[in-house]
Structures are given as C-alpha cells and as structure tokens.
Symmetry: C2
Subunit: 332 residues, 2 copies
C-alpha cells in the first residue's frame, strides 16, 4: 500500500512515517542483542525479536519524540530500550504462564528451555539498562526504572489474583497498568522528556500511553472471548487458564448464586468440562459483560484522544489519535 | 566476640566496623522490598533477604566507600542495590538450577513457585535500578548496568557450557567472572567512584573485587568436592548436577582415554551409578586437580591483596586484605 491511501491502518501509517527511525532502531537492536561469549542469547532473542511483532512500543517513543521536535539521536536508543524491556517481559511471561505459543509461533521456553528464557530475559533487561544510561538523562532513567518496578509489581499481583474470584475492577486496573500500560506510558513520556517539552505536554504523553495501554489490554481480554485476530490466541485461552479478565469480573459481579457456583467451579477449582466455555459465553452475554467492557475500553480511548489535544497539531498526532480509535475498532 | 579479639574472622570484623552503615542498609532494604499492591513480594524476598546471608557484597561497597573517605549518603543506596541484584540473581538461579535448598533452607521456588521467583526477581532488579538512579551518578549507573549484563551473559554461558566436557579454563573464567566476580568488582568500584577517587584507585578497587570473586568461586567449587561449611551445600552436589567446575576441568584435561570415558558417562551422559562420586574424587586426587585449583585460588588472592596496596593504609584496608586470605583459608 502507498502512503496516501486513507484506508491504511493507523499502525501502518505510523510505521511508514517512522520508517527511517525504525530502521535505525532495528539495527541497534540487532547490534545490542549480540553476545560475544554466549551465542545462545542472539538465538533466543532473534526468535522473538524477529518474529514480526508490531513494534508498537518503540513506535510510540519515536512518534512522541518526533512530534515534540526532538533533533538528537537518543530516541533511537530509547525505542530500542522499550522493545528490549518488552521482549524480556515476554520471555519471562511465557515461563510464568507455561505458554507454548506466542504470535502464532512456538515460544522460546518450548524451543529451548525455561532456563534460557529466564536468563536471556535478564540479559535483555541489562542491555536495555545500558542503552538508557547512554542517553545521559537521569530523568529518563527514573521514568524507566519506575516503569520496570510497576511492570514487575503488576505481574506479581496478577499471579496472586489469578483464579481468585475476589479480584475486582480496581485490582484488575492495577494489574493492567502494570502488565501493559506502564510501558506504553513510559514509552510516550520519555519521548517528550528527551525533547525537553513542558510538564503539561510530558504529562499528556504519559496519559495517552496509559489510557491506550489500558484500552489495548481490555480489547485483548475481549478478543479472547469473542474473536481472533493475528495475535495467535485461540478463543477461550484465558478461560482455560482461569484468568480473571474484565468481562469475567463483570459477569461474576452480576452473578446469581447458581452462576457464581459455576464460576467457582471453572475458575477457582479449575474443574472444567465440555460445554463450560459455551456456558461462560452465555453468562457474559446475559449480563452484557462484553458490551460493558467494550464501553470501558471506549472510555479509555476517549481519554487517550483528549490527552493528545494538549500537544500541537501534526500528522503524527493525527496518527496517534487514529491509533487509539483503531485499538477498539479491532473488535467491532 | 569483642572487636579486639584477633581470632575474629575478617568478615565479622568488617561487619563490626560497618555495623552502623549496615543497619541503614538493612532498613533501606526492608523499606524498598515492600510492595503496596503485591504482598507476595515481601513474603518471598523476606524469606531470602532475612535468611542470614553474609551480606558480603553490600559490605564491600560500604568498606570501599568508607576507606575512600566518602561522606555522603549514597553508599547506603549502592550497598542495598548490590544486595538486591544479588538476591534477584539467586531467585532466578534457583529456578534455573531447580534448586531445593539455599543456605540450608528451602528455596523460594520450592516454598512458593517458579513463577513467583521469576517475577519477584524482576521486581528486585527494578528496585535496585531505582535505588541506583537516586544516587544521580551516571558513572555508577554505567558500571552497574555493565555488571548486570556481564552477570546475565555469564549465566547463559554457564547454561550452554553445562555438561560439555569441551569447557576449558578460559570459558570457566568467563563464566565465573559473570556469575560471581562481576558483582564483587562493581560493588567495590562504585564505592570508589562515589568518593571521587583517582582512576588508579578506582581500578584497584575493581581489581580487588574481581580477584576476590574469582577466588571465592574457585573455593566454592573445591568445597563441593572436599568438605562442607555453612553454605548448606552437600558434597557432590555439583557432581550430581554435572557441572564443569575447575577441579573437574583440570582432571578432564589430564585424563587418560579410560578416565575420559568415565567423565563422558557421568557428566555428559548423566549416567551416574553408586561409587561414581568416589571414583571422581580419586581421579581428582590422581591428577592433583584439587591442589592445582587451590593454587589458582591463592594466585587470585595474591592479586586481590596486591591491588589493595594502591590504596592508602587503613583499618578497613587491612580487613579486606585479611578477607582475601580468609576466602582460601576456609578450605585449608
């Protein structure tokens, strides 16, 4: 598709507008994931880094820096940093979830072993840390250190909330902010910080990333019960893994005694039988849980778009606004 | 024991000389390992952090800063940073090694699960990163980022070298520098850096930590075949886990054809039978492998002590010199 086709997805338009910078990011990623001493490292990371992920997070950093008029070299480092952090968390998540597929391909822990996934994830964290130190910005380091702590905290919280019907929407939001939104918001924020923009603008970039990340995760939850895109997920994966995602939390909150007993059996006790997924879908429909979760996602999209209004008009700003719309359009 | 008893171990003398600072480090560690949202985190870390580890690494940072005349507050942060990094790597190592005991107690992965160990390790890494950002020193951040990358690289290298009789002393040294010496040397180096000492002195601190770490790991390898101290290790653990440690590498290098076949069977193939550990000990003795490894450790101790000569005379310097001697004295 050419650049001027309006039917192009916002993500592809961003990729086209940032193609040169993204090329530099990819080159830096390939350079830094190499290890002189441990050839296992590039094997494992190449499997994941080259697997055709959408590179959404580094694009956010590049877009934020560029729309803020940044003229230096360090948005490339920060975009690579963000992708390394993301890749490291994927490697560790797959160990934690005992996943066998990611983006439609076997996970590293299946192809190699859990050991390699844990240690190569640690290596990528360390590499990301080296990259951000190179920017020389203590404020950037502070933002990314805080994001890393929030991510890990969200993951641990998710683990202890797993299979616990007591998980409410407040806990859910904390988990989602950790596992998804913290890196989205940090990716945006650091772009504004290295461009030395005003506090109000930096805050707006953060708010956009935070809201986009939350909307993104809610949609991910919805897709798991209502459809499949190119994520490589199968319908019902979250159900089989007994995850308390937003639609289920809403249905549990509205459940009758009998319905609650069903959720206790399938989610808390893990006693799942033929037809249970279909029954769960019925209960979600009965209480309008999917529609309510979709409305929440749309609310976060509106928040993301409103944040963008603080920043000067530009093509990139337009693409980020469209991207927020597109996140929810995936399920409509 | 009182301070002036010359029979006290160097480690205890250091602990006494740094008691006030170590109290502050422990308070900071307790404060920062808390998590408002995820109570699982302090449970897991307390199990490990409070388990009576020797706190050797943070003491190195405190000793280095204090002997260099540092008067600010950040040696406390850096000592806590170093202990967090160490604890995080222990959590991940125990997952990688599928360990069931550490310091004579059940490991976190056995008490909770591998998931918690992976994620709480990530949390501690992130926390350590926040702590070092607070020092405001980009040079310190650079040193610790590089150390983190070297540690992870060494761990991955160890994984791919495991059970491979082709592992020679050069590879062994790279692994040991990663898994042990990188944090010892960084712990010392950052103490000199925040005290703004000369490059020669900073380098000497690094060299001391590097050599001490290598000696420490060689002695650890020796203890596994020749005795047990308070580490909670059993004789032969490394043998049963088929690790290529220094004594084995030396014995393999000197092996006859028949002996090599034995090592191939027990280490590479993992076919271990009754009496194999005893036979391995015989082969180590036959080729003087234990004595040769001990001589190497003594060489590193001499390097560590020589490095200290670059620094001004002080009580702390004397204790660090004695500590180097004591590392090898553990096995004599």
């Amino acid at each position: 598709m050419s650049l001027d086709q309006p039917s192009q997805k916002p993500h592809d338009r961003l990729a086209a507008a940032l193609a040169e910078e993204m090329g530099a990011v990819n080159a830096l990623i390939r350079d830094r994931m190499a290890s002189e001493h441990a050839p296992r490292i590039p094997e494992v990371t190449a499997h994941l880094v080259e697997a055709g992920g959408k590179r959404l997070r580094p694009m956010l950093t590049l877009a934020a820096a560029k729309m803020c008029g940044y003229a230096g070299p360090y948005h490339i480092h920060l975009a690579a940093t963000v992708e390394f952090i993301h890749t490291a968390t994927l490697l560790h998540d797959d160990v934690v979830d005992e996943s066998e597929q990611r983006r439609g391909r076997p996970t590293a822990n299946l192809l190699w072993d859990n050991q390699s996934s844990v240690l190569v994830g640690d290596y990528l964290f360390a590499r990301s840390f080296q990259l951000m130190v190179e920017t020389g910005s203590l404020r950037v380091l502070d933002i990314l250190a805080n994001a890393a702590a929030t991510i890990a905290e969200g993951e641990v919280l998710q683990l202890s909330a797993a299979r616990d019907l007591g998980t409410d929407e407040g806990v859910y939001l904390k988990i989602v902010r950790g596992k998804t939104a913290a890196l989205f918001s940090a990716a945006m924020e650091v772009g504004g910080v290295i461009a030395e923009r005003s506090e109000a603008e930096v805050r707006a970039l953060y708010d956009y990333g935070d809201a986009l990340g939350i909307a993104f995760q809610i949609v991910d939850d919805l897709l798991d019960y209502g459809g499949s895109d190119a994520t490589g997920k199968n319908i019902g994966d979250d159900f089989r893994e007994r995850k308390l995602t937003l639609p289920v939390i809403k249905a549990v909150a509205a459940a009758t005694g009998e319905e609650r007993a069903f959720w206790v059996r399938v989610i808390e006790k893990g006693d799942q039988r033929d037809g249970d997924l279909e029954h769960a879908l019925e209960l979600l429909a009965r209480h309008g849980a999917m529609e309510a979760a979709r409305a929440d996602a749309l609310g976060w999209v509106a928040t993301a778009k409103a944040a963008m209004a603080t920043l000067p008009e530009s093509d990139l700003r337009g693409m980020l606004v469209d991207l927020a719309d597109y996140v929810v359009a995936r399920i409509s």
